[in-house]
Assembly symmetry: C2
Homo-oligomer: 408 residues x 2
Amino acid sequence: MSMCVATYRAYDDKADFNKKALSIAVGLTVGSWTELPEAQKASMEKHLGKVLSIDVHEPEQAAAGERYADIKIGYPDINFSRDIPALLVTIFGKLSMDGRIKLLDLDVSEDFASAFPGPAFGLQGVRDLVGVHDRPLLMSIFKSVVGYDLAALREQFYQQALGGVDLIKDDEILFENPLTPIEKRVEVCMEAARQAQEVTGQKLLYAVNLTGPTSKLAQQAKKAIAAGANALLFNTLSYGFDVLHELSSDPEINVPIASHPALAGAIYPSAHYGMSPSVLLGKLNRLAGADLVLFPSPYGSVVMPKEQNLAIDAALKQPFHHLKQSMPVPSAGIHPGIVPLIMKDFGQDVVVNAGGGIHGHPMGTAAGGRAFHQAISACLQGTPLEEAAKQADHQELASAIQAWGIKK
Amino acid sequence: MSMCVATYRAYDDKADFNKKALSIAVGLTVGSWTELPEAQKASMEKHLGKVLSIDVHEPEQAAAGERYADIKIGYPDINFSRDIPALLVTIFGKLSMDGRIKLLDLDVSEDFASAFPGPAFGLQGVRDLVGVHDRPLLMSIFKSVVGYDLAALREQFYQQALGGVDLIKDDEILFENPLTPIEKRVEVCMEAARQAQEVTGQKLLYAVNLTGPTSKLAQQAKKAIAAGANALLFNTLSYGFDVLHELSSDPEINVPIASHPALAGAIYPSAHYGMSPSVLLGKLNRLAGADLVLFPSPYGSVVMPKEQNLAIDAALKQPFHHLKQSMPVPSAGIHPGIVPLIMKDFGQDVVVNAGGGIHGHPMGTAAGGRAFHQAISACLQGTPLEEAAKQADHQELASAIQAWGIKK
């Protein structure tokens, strides 16, 4: 029987977790079982959820609130349509409101996954577009540009591009507005990108923020692409994963999509409620077709624990049916002195993504980008940053280290 | 200055909450302020967020984790477009991931609200459709019908309708499927409704579950309406509030929409993260145009604390710009012996919504509906249920009380 499998952590000081697991498996599928007539059981069996495992954690000290069980339930695919809303409503719709319970993991069947093309570009496709295969990519984030006009926006873009970054992303709170409408923003920024490329030799992707009414997003994306956009930024959770899936599956939206985690903090951080980061930001983003996935890094002030970062990384990169890998983008609090940690944790297949760590560089925004490139090169060569910073052509790195240090 | 105002509860054992509030107001709008040149300040001031109040709660015992502040921030409307995704990403996008912080309340400006028609029918419109103005409405929930064919579905519908209920809702986990596709389901159930009405005299609304790909929902709704559907059920959180807003604003979707809370438990229950129920299930549902709003009642096993229920009730009914009231539907664990409590808590403007309390009635499903009507009549007349149950024509109520008791 083809099934999607959900793993939950359910907390309860006294519950019989076997009973609890059975009530989930039955209650969220056929509704009732033991009282059904035998003839009906035969026809309903293919719809019945299965308890696959129950792993009870009895705390030694029996501290109230610490007793839990990890419960794995299989949901027959026949019960729901091949879309993320149907899957989520089935496995965690009513159940999310049933006491302290968190969705830890989710495995979708081959059959369910077959309805999802996944990332159109993926990790390798994004590398191909910028022509970089032998190092982490470098992304720069616009500093707040709310209220900026096109000229000011262009200037900030150009300074970032001059630092040789591979990607520049819009601020996620820059919405459609009369000063810098999407097609104008794309036009002036892509022109600045070409101009900077003449200096740096580096092609770059500009992930422009796709906003507005849900039913107009595809049209808006195509307008941006017609104006020259070569990537999109999308606040996935504010619209729903199905919308990302539809955008990424649209053959006319032929540019990579970066999924922003805005609002995710309402769902993943609690130990007792919500969904784990690897499901919410990892598997669901990849299934829905995110080519790049942003999430809070463990390095700065807006933090997510490192093991959760690594679980997202695994969800984005490990084999997952036919789906391409998505590129992880740990974000917030990144400066050049953190690059060795990023590469230790994520390897080379990662986007080093910085905002303040580029714009706040003592020698300016363009120097900020160069400092990151120097740090990345040093790491690839196995040279400690302290050493690399002494080289005559690595003043930008030296200055960055002086400002922010090296995180061990 | 026209602003939307968000109220947060931020937990921190040591933080300077004044600084924290200022960093939110600046960081989520203009990005930086004190370091801006004066000329730029003049032009940017209209974009700058405002700290409206900070109310610090210092615990007497200084128990770790219990120190918090309620912080009110005003966000100038000029910064975001007139849609719920832009509003939520602004006020709680990045901020949701910034430590222990919960969105407690949200007041939108007149200007922002003007983009939202809100509930097309609302509480009074739903009453008009069923022709009932002097008592709570009664809704019956399909018992699990996953795997049922049209004949079995129809029979269950008919038995519910015979009990004289005002509304019948689909199971939220019944998705588009070959056995009971939406237009067929509507056809056979509406025919059963007409047949039952000849017996009961009661008009009823059938809220059929609207599912499938986001871009096809409007079309699917219109297909259902063409087949005779007179109401829709929608799993709002699995699609996003903007999708509900677009559906409810569509003049061709001229039937009331009931918003189901599936997945809401991933967001509201934690003290430290997410959004309060009154924002998530109250204000956002009403803004997005839900005519009926389902949420977990405080009476059964899947519970929400009563004060949170009452806060949702207030959000759905209190004056909110030009928006019609939405009808509250506290759900789960409802039997006739709970009716006095429901009416004490919600007044008459409420939907008494039962599943097991109707289907599980000792005398059968139709008797289950009648028992609820008898309980509602008794409450309206000020007769205690114990007394009412003694009347010769109230056997169904007597039987229900014998089975489930009366909750005080």
